[in-house]
């Protein structure tokens, strides 16, 4: 790896870093160098190891192999505090705030300005926070509790926190996912001025145009391995995507044309106060409908409400023409609905249970007789679906947590396909899984649609939406902002609707 950079010593660097979690090898011999005054992009698909790399830099994970270098000297960060003291500020994908404490306290926890006898100077904390917010152009109240802040506002608090360090290295893991266009522009202004003052910046974003707008160099990861580090100038979006995906897009999105049947799922004027408003759409048998939008736009919330995990305040849901009672997943399942939820580890699977028990959980009634479980049919149902979906496991009795991310996702799909649903809602079906499994999942969804299943696919991965969906619904701020045909749907049209630029075209 050679660098054209004149700057001899990187501020912060990784050399040959590997990190495993159980059976999953998240990073494999990755090297990365961050230079003062440079914005460096980290590209890669979901699950390529970007978040793990950041956590290694931030002192959250200690690498199994390899070293972290600070100003060219090897260092060991024993915890986030060590990294922070070395001037490394991190903005995580999911905000990590203290809901009970004020915004100002959140920013300065553990580093509050002090006056005599080591007492916290509350006035200085307040003033410094107000100052940061002015610099960011945000009008949050420093004394407001963090509980109840929108995701965008939480993200802004995180950014203010990172700014408050006067950090030498600023690491941002998808900071713009929930921000509007002008908020992004303002953030970029701040980041640029930081960089000009000599800070090194590591930036992760799914929006490639942001990478091109902000960064000088880009490092690409795939399946936990280093692929390339190169200047952004002269690189095209297609080049970058090819490095990230490692294969042609057609192969990754094997969408087959399918016979579109009768309306299977009909959602009319569904409203949950403060979460989503007046959401109406239909999904027909054989159709894959994509549901796009920014994080926090209310997509998952709609799915949860339809499936009965959350209640709704107004509107109605019909499955195959029959109204569905709100608030009961068991009834939704009986009506033929299945939901592969967003958070695999917390919602999709019971991590402390075996593969067999996880698959069996959706078919307890089918595999019991007179209220007593039939071990034989319980096991054969699990084996059947685990084999059909090519789950790689040692024993069905192993804890599901021992599987890799992709195989875990297959178990989630198995447990739901085993219920023979007529409507399948998948929420981020390929987040955090390797490219090979990703293609398998896509082929599976395509096959299911071919068999007449109505599929509603929520995804933040735009190429996935564009590659797989027959029709695309775009949500913005809790409302359906646009409905686009496969032909109309392009990266630009979907993003425009998702960020509210186009208003309500329908």
């Amino acid at each position: 790896m050679t660098h054209p950079e004149p700057d001899p010593v990187p501020v912060l660097a990784l050399e040959g870093v590997s990190k495993s979690f159980g059976a999953v090898r998240a990073l494999r011999g990755v090297s990365l160098q961050l230079f003062a005054g440079e914005a460096h992009a980290l590209a890669g698909e979901n699950g390529a190891g970007k978040s793990t790399l950041i956590k290694a830099l931030a002192g959250v994970h200690r690498p199994d192999e390899g070293t972290v270098l600070l100003d060219g000297e090897p260092v060991v960060f024993h915890g986030p505090a060590d990294a922070r003291d070395a001037g490394v500020a991190v903005i995580y994908q999911e905000p990590t705030l203290f809901p009970d404490l004020s915004v100002a306290e959140n920013i300065f926890m553990g580093r509050q300005p002090r006056r005599s006898f080591g007492r916290v100077d509350h006035r200085a904390v307040h003033a410094a926070t107000a100052d940061l917010f002015r610099r960011l152009g945000v009008d949050l109240d420093p004394d407001q509790p963090a509980r109840g802040l929108s995701i965008a506002d939480q993200q802004l608090v995180e950014i203010a926190k990172a700014l408050s360090f006067d950090a030498r290295v600023l690491i941002m893991d998808e900071p713009t996912a929930a921000l509007t266009g002008s908020e992004v522009a303002r953030l970029f202004g701040v980041v640029r001025s930081l960089r000009e003052e000599g800070a090194a910046v590591l930036f992760i974003s799914h929006r490639l145009e942001e990478v091109f707008a902000l960064c000088q160099r880009v490092t690409t990861l795939r399946d936990g391995a280093w692929i390339a580090t190169e200047p952004v100038a002269g690189l095209g979006e297609d080049d970058l995507i090819r490095r990230m995906v490692g294969r042609d897009l057609d192969e990754l999105y094997p969408k087959l044309p399918a016979e579109v049947g009768a309306v299977a799922l009909s959602v009319r004027r569904l409203t949950r106060e403060g979460v989503f408003t007046d959401v109406s759409f239909e999904v027909r048998g054989g159709e894959i409908v994509g549901l796009a939008g920014l994080v926090g736009a209310g997509r998952s919330e709609v799915a949860r409400a339809v499936f009965g995990v959350d209640r709704w305040d107004g509107g109605e849901v019909e499955v195959a023409g029959k109204p569905l009672k709100p608030g009961a997943p068991s009834l939704a399942m009986a009506a033929g609905l299945a939901l592969v939820p967003e958070d695999r580890r917390a919602q999709g699977l019971v991590m402390g249970m075996s593969i067999e028990r996880n698959i069996g959980l959706t078919g307890l009634r089918a595999t019991s007789r007179a209220g007593v479980m039939n071990r034989g049919s319980e096991r054969s149902r699990a084996v059947d679906w685990a084999v059909r979906l090519q789950v790689k496991y040692a024993r069905l009795g192993d804890l599901v947590g021992t599987l890799s991310g992709g195989n875990q996702q297959k178990v989630v799909l198995a447990k739901w396909l085993a219920t023979s649903p007529t409507v399948l809602i998948v929420d981020e079906p390929t987040r955090g899984i390797d490219v090979g499994t990703k293609a398998e999942v896509h082929r599976l969804l395509s096959q299911l649609a071919g068999q007449g299943v109505a599929v509603l696919m929520i995804s933040s991965d735009l190429p996935e939406i564009l590659g797989m969906a027959d029709r695309v619904l775009v949500m913005h701020e809790g409302r359906i902002a646009a409905e686009l045909d496969r032909a109309e749907a392009t990266e630009q049209s979907v993003l425009a609707a998702a960020t509210g630029v186009t208003g309500r075209a329908a």
Partner: protein, 352 residues
């Protein structure tokens, strides 16, 4: 796949080792060792009278431990069981004093237990309150109501045939009559927990309530029914207590909740939910019971017995965790030294 077998087998080996040294098996073995040693070396342990004392004194804990096990597996706890038993006994005494026939009184007491459980369950499931806080509250409230109902009186003149049932033994054996309904409940609880959809759901809810809800488990209803079952069995225990000791007082079964919780946790039921076996819980109950009995026989003071209970409790939660951490660390060392080819690398080959 061939080159991935090394870490796989390493994992398998440690998993099998883990199966063999499961905590509930350890507790069962300890109980067995204790019984064998006691029969051999402790004077008067093996005679029928002592054994019937042992069982009779342990039965209240053993009874409540059955539904408590199911409740703890689902991730909740009920600290009001002792008070519910006390309240049930107090109402029994008060109604008996008021001249009602015992055949009417007992169903009323059991119904009262159901109501007590329902109150706990509704507060936990409808309002989303932590069961610990709720049942500390009802612990005081139910005991307080028992005190209001019966004051400082004690009622002892229950019909002789019922008292005989409460303290008598099956002819020619050391087994108390009351062990028969307990055995029936034991079988029922074991089947429910380990061989029915309800049991499967309980484990799922305890291990991850959210994932269970997303899988269509009716979490609230399930938890509510477990609280009701616990209330019912607690009231039953209250009736048994009053008959066994021939005395209904408001302070019957005070502190019983701590013994039950200690025994259940000792038996390997994970306090965080989702893990444990009914066999382990029962072994835990009788290990504590037998230990106390033996210590009394060899003249260890009651106070020292308390210390032993406490130490066992701490060890029972610390032990499995330390063991698990050690085995995780061992597995990690093995994975690191084994020649590893990541599973992810083989996945595309299998898929395409």
């Amino acid at each position: 796949m061939a080159d991935t077998t090394a870490p796989f087998t390493a994992r398998l080996r440690s998993a099998r080792l883990g199966d063999m040294v499961r905590w509930d098996t350890v507790v069962g073995a300890l109980l067995l060792v204790l019984l064998v040693c006691s029969f051999s070396f402790v004077d008067n342990f093996g005679n029928a009278l002592n054994l019937s004392f042992l069982i009779g004194n342990t039965l209240p804990i053993a009874l409540i431990a059955l539904p408590m096990t199911l409740l703890v597996v689902s991730g909740e706890i009920d600290l009001s069981v002792g008070s519910t038993a006390g309240l049930s006994g107090a109402v029994m005494g008060a109604l008996w004093n008021a001249g009602y026939p015992i055949e009417t009184i007992i169903p009323i007491c059991l119904l009262l237990g159901v109501v007590c459980g329902l109150v706990n369950g509704l507060l936990v499931t409808r309002l989303g309150l932590p069961s610990l806080a709720v049942t500390i509250g009802t612990l005081a409230a139910y005991r307080g109501i028992a005190q209001i109902v019966l004051g400082a009186n004690s009622v002892t003149d229950f019909p002789q045939q019922y008292l005989d049932f409460g303290s008598g033994r099956i002819a020619g054996t050391f087994i108390p009559y009351a062990a028969i309904p307990w055995a029936v409940l034991l079988v029922l609880a074991a089947v429910v927990l380990h061989a029915t959809p309800v049991g499967r759901s309980l484990f799922a809810v305890g291990a991850s309530e959210e994932a269970a809800r997303f899988s269509g488990v009716r979490v609230k209803r399930l938890k509510l029914s477990m609280f009701v079952a616990t209330g019912f069995v607690s009231a039953l225990t209250g009736v048994f207590w009053a008959l066994h000791y021939a005395s209904a007082r408001y302070d019957n079964a005070t502190g019983l909740e701590l013994s039950v919780v200690a025994a259940v946790l000792l038996g390997g039921i994970d306090f965080d939910g989702g893990r444990g076996t009914l066999g382990g819980a029962v072994a835990g109950v009788f290990l504590l019971g037998a230990l106390q009995n033996v210590m009394s026989l060899v003249n260890v003071s009651a106070q020292s017995q308390i210390v032993v209970t406490g130490v066992l409790l701490v060890v029972s939660v610390l032990g499995p965790r330390v063991a698990r951490q050690l085995s995780v660390a061992r597995a990690r060392r093995r994975t690191l030294t084994a020649p590893v080819v990541p599973a992810a690398a083989t996945a595309p080959a299998g898929g395409t």
